[in-house]
Symmetry: C2
Subunit: 257 residues, 2 copies
Amino acid sequence: MSSNKRTPIYEGKAKQIFEGPEPGTLIAHFKDDATAFNNQKKGQIRGKGVINNKISEYLMLRLSEIGIPNHFIRTLNMREQLIRAVEIVPLEVIVRNVAAGSFAKRFGVPEGSALRMPIVEFCLKNDELGDPFVTEDHIFSFDIADPMEVDDIRLMSMRINDFMNGLFRGVGLRLIDFKIEFGRIYDEEGRSKIILADEISPDSCRLWDVTTGEKLDKDRFRQDMGGVEEAYQEVAKRLGVLPSAHIAELDDKRVES
Amino acid sequence: MSSNKRTPIYEGKAKQIFEGPEPGTLIAHFKDDATAFNNQKKGQIRGKGVINNKISEYLMLRLSEIGIPNHFIRTLNMREQLIRAVEIVPLEVIVRNVAAGSFAKRFGVPEGSALRMPIVEFCLKNDELGDPFVTEDHIFSFDIADPMEVDDIRLMSMRINDFMNGLFRGVGLRLIDFKIEFGRIYDEEGRSKIILADEISPDSCRLWDVTTGEKLDKDRFRQDMGGVEEAYQEVAKRLGVLPSAHIAELDDKRVES
């Protein structure tokens, strides 16, 4: 059954979510759709869904190995992966190593200045309000997560940052910043646990070539820089998750309707 | 010597700062000038300087009594107080009990909704950048204050909030939110300590009448509600720091040039 004939239970900007084959599972379908600036800019990045599915699988597997629990179960096909159903914590967690994008503007710092220490930022996931920036106080007061959950989220975010800094540095990429999301799962006694959810990909990371400084991420789309598809492919190639260079063609034949 | 003939070493929106009579001291002169919306709105509130000098003295003395160290030494005249020179920590610390102003807008909450828990917000004191909102991570990464200092600032802010909530409630006022600032002082061995600095007044607090909900603070100026002078006088009267109702007149005779 092709994904295009099922009804998604959730339609996001870059992903559709379908019911999974067994309780507690979902299927994430990675689209080529791209948006930026809170949906004001829309477009497509050819083959992006295939690449992000692959990169996200790879990163989630590596993070599992270092003990970061996450929602990934297994890849189903080129655009889809089976994931655990979680109760999403409505926060965008941003970890920054280097000033870039809105952050550089907000603080009047030149893009590219390394931060003295990494910064974790929380934004409320709420498109209508423009995902406003919040602190732990807001998170507690608005009852979005409790202090122990925020501790877990912060600790995992810093570990993910350390690990991915190393991983990307090893393939000649500087991890400037990234956005992740978390969710709750419940055991049989109803006790909850925080796990990493969503995806990690060049849609949600800023990655610059260590030597040339070239941007290999969604900023190429945001800033109409061209070479967007190639940038996503380059990241996948460096991580060793794209043995064939012909993803776009493969993708067209096998998955598109 | 009238304050108007000396040269201030710092000219703020609502205060001038002059050198003090001995090392480590300064003189704060409270003006009637009022600004709002990051200086876009400007005006005067007649007698405000006299009232804020009085209210701030009163609150600083009460806070000293509960062990909150602060910069107040003694009142010099109707518009001036002697204060300790501090190295200002360039943060505006905002404590919120009830949603109001920019906060209500930012989170799409009706003005007047009580928060489940008080929220402490930090903003970088930087007019050019519009005092951007920061978290402890930014504060550490930008080297504005260290973790122990931020702990002290947060703890003192919560204590000040608890105390002032009680104090104002006792005179029929609801403390909606307030802004404070802190500074460092150094002992002979060069060890630093954080103390409360700046002022606390209806310029920096939102105060609503418990029964009628009437606003008795700078929002009357911000929102062109009228009755601005009267609101400031009412707060001073309720706190018992204005035995005479004729401050504006007294002020004109004794202090204005």
